[in-house]
Symmetry: C2
Subunit: 423 residues, 2 copies
Amino acid sequence: MVAQIDTVDMQALGQRAKTASSALRQFDTAAKNDALRAIADAIDANSAAILAANAADMEDGRAAGLTSALLDRLNLAKRLAGVTADVRRVAELPDPVGIEFEQQTLPNGLQIRKRRVPVGVLGVIYESRPNVTVDVAALALKTSNAVILRGGSETLRSNIALVDTIKEALTSVGFPADAVVLIRDQDRRYVAELLKLSDTVDMIIPRGGNRLHTFCRENSTIPVITGGIGICHLYVDDTADLDAAVNIVQNAKVQRPSVCNALDTLLVQESIADQVVPRVIERLAQDGVQFRLDGRAMALANGSDNVQPAGEGDWDIEWLDLILGIRVVPDLSAAIQHIQTHGTAHSDGILTSDPASMERFLNEIDSAAVYVNASTRFTDGSQLGLGAEIAISTQKLHARGPMGLAELTTYKWIIIGEGHVRP
Amino acid sequence: MVAQIDTVDMQALGQRAKTASSALRQFDTAAKNDALRAIADAIDANSAAILAANAADMEDGRAAGLTSALLDRLNLAKRLAGVTADVRRVAELPDPVGIEFEQQTLPNGLQIRKRRVPVGVLGVIYESRPNVTVDVAALALKTSNAVILRGGSETLRSNIALVDTIKEALTSVGFPADAVVLIRDQDRRYVAELLKLSDTVDMIIPRGGNRLHTFCRENSTIPVITGGIGICHLYVDDTADLDAAVNIVQNAKVQRPSVCNALDTLLVQESIADQVVPRVIERLAQDGVQFRLDGRAMALANGSDNVQPAGEGDWDIEWLDLILGIRVVPDLSAAIQHIQTHGTAHSDGILTSDPASMERFLNEIDSAAVYVNASTRFTDGSQLGLGAEIAISTQKLHARGPMGLAELTTYKWIIIGEGHVRP
């Protein structure tokens, strides 16, 4: 059996992480990068034990009848070298902590500026991928944040092996071991208790499905970064380059259908529906896509056997699979109305060559990422130049869309006077 | 009796505000400024009716035995011209909405940038000042946000008169009246229901005491901006200019003792305590300040009759009154330790002429506003160049310290391609 520690007293656990987060502030960028490299080296050196723990998790998973997709997520065997390469890459990224901005001297001579500082303690709740354990620890450490991790039960042995290795590496370079804390008891009540640790934890990041995000938002007294649910749309108008449009639709649906930025619903302007709908169906059918069509699209589908009429709720489903809804709409207004009604404000785009339509779409669609003539698959920190990504936010405060290192910081005001008093 | 409307169905009320917030996005800065001026004009034109409503609130307040301080907060009679002047001043401020930043073209040719957009719908819960009704409505409108207001019951008539006037003005210039919605039934269950409207409300701003903030944080499924509690510290070290230090301490404590950025505890380095403590007591005694002193400070107080020994809990009290705690500490480390233990991360400062001490204080004190050689009373949007202030945040996500117009916006990513697909 796995050791049951770290969990008896969640208050104490939060306090340990908070104490570690204060201690982390004394380390400069070079020291933090050294610690990251020490972690990568330690994982490499300890890979046999880590992979043995992972093999035990895999065996339990097979015995429990996990799907091959879930077992693949769980499997570290082919992935561990990539995990440590990612940690070394995080060490190379610029450090946002300490950057000062909005400097000014007020008319009264007060010098003011804002300085980027760590958030403090992060609580990250995630599911079956043990590589997330290392990714998140590295991003937290790079930004001088302590982190409390709560992973999925099916990867507990892997997570314990990884976190113990990380803690040893931290200790070896003089960093506090409590900078990375794992909740080692999988009882769900500890998740609920984590969400109430507002005295010590500053930010909750759930990484998982809709239920996890809703549970966190409804039960947390700590600010929660919700996200991850993307019902994504593309609208093709009658000025679009149709070859490019079909390519983009194919990429957005097919390149990786299981993720949140994949296309769910294609909206087509009525006046070009007879050109677009049959071509999209023909092209994406080659990738095994099944279609859910409104009445007008059905009439253009030429009896293809991979189509069926869209049901009432089909516009409100994040497919996460090779399924695409297609709806024919009279114009841009109707497309915007559809997206406002059925979207999740994640990633939505217009395919057009008309500047006025583009500008109106950019103004009126209030999604985290709004696209013109590009695939929605780019909503990803690594694709948008962030270097790394901890989550994709679909809520509006603090950060929106892909969150990188800077989004794991906050700021403080620095105000320097020469005996200034308020009149 | 006051009309009971707007409150039967909070879901519907949230939806109305959300619909108005979408409609607000079509108005440009000039139109929004015209609407603000129309509101100011309407309040001026309707001042007799507004002041009559306010007089009725005052009469009820006197009958209910409100303190003169509370009655003063409630009173609009001398304040209404200032309120409309403030609205006209908001019209003159720069509009953050639509500003684009972090523009770049990626190596693959994708053009990306972020654009400032309204948060959407704000929920603001506040207490007895009816001027807040107009202030908040103006700041929300300037940033294209709709707002749901819930004021104190003792100002309900005043708030209804003000909001009805605002709605008339909005309608007269073609703006949606539901951009400003008042909860007109004071039953507290509607506050609880407001906090659950996460489908339509994007941000909750409580303006009031600790209990209100805690209630919101514990009951809201919507992100809450908590703040407003300031146990503020100044630390005087043995390199400080003592004349300047005494001035700053006096200003921070006395200039307006009832507010969150007023000084609560003075920490004095032991080696200069005999010079600082008697001078501070002598100077501030002239303003009627009472002192709570630790043992070493008591020994230096020369038997003044406005001092008493500090009780155990006195370092954890936000005085909001002419009371000052003084504690003698051996050095900077002890001062930092005290602030980390007893502070609320609002406004804390060091009075020093030593650059190393200054830099260490700025690094290790993680408060929303960290000061060197200046009064804590500057933690205020109007003092720090924001032009206006909706709240002072002491939580860490989204915004910290004084929140102005920009902090009532979020951003969206705009991604423009030329047929880009993800490889």
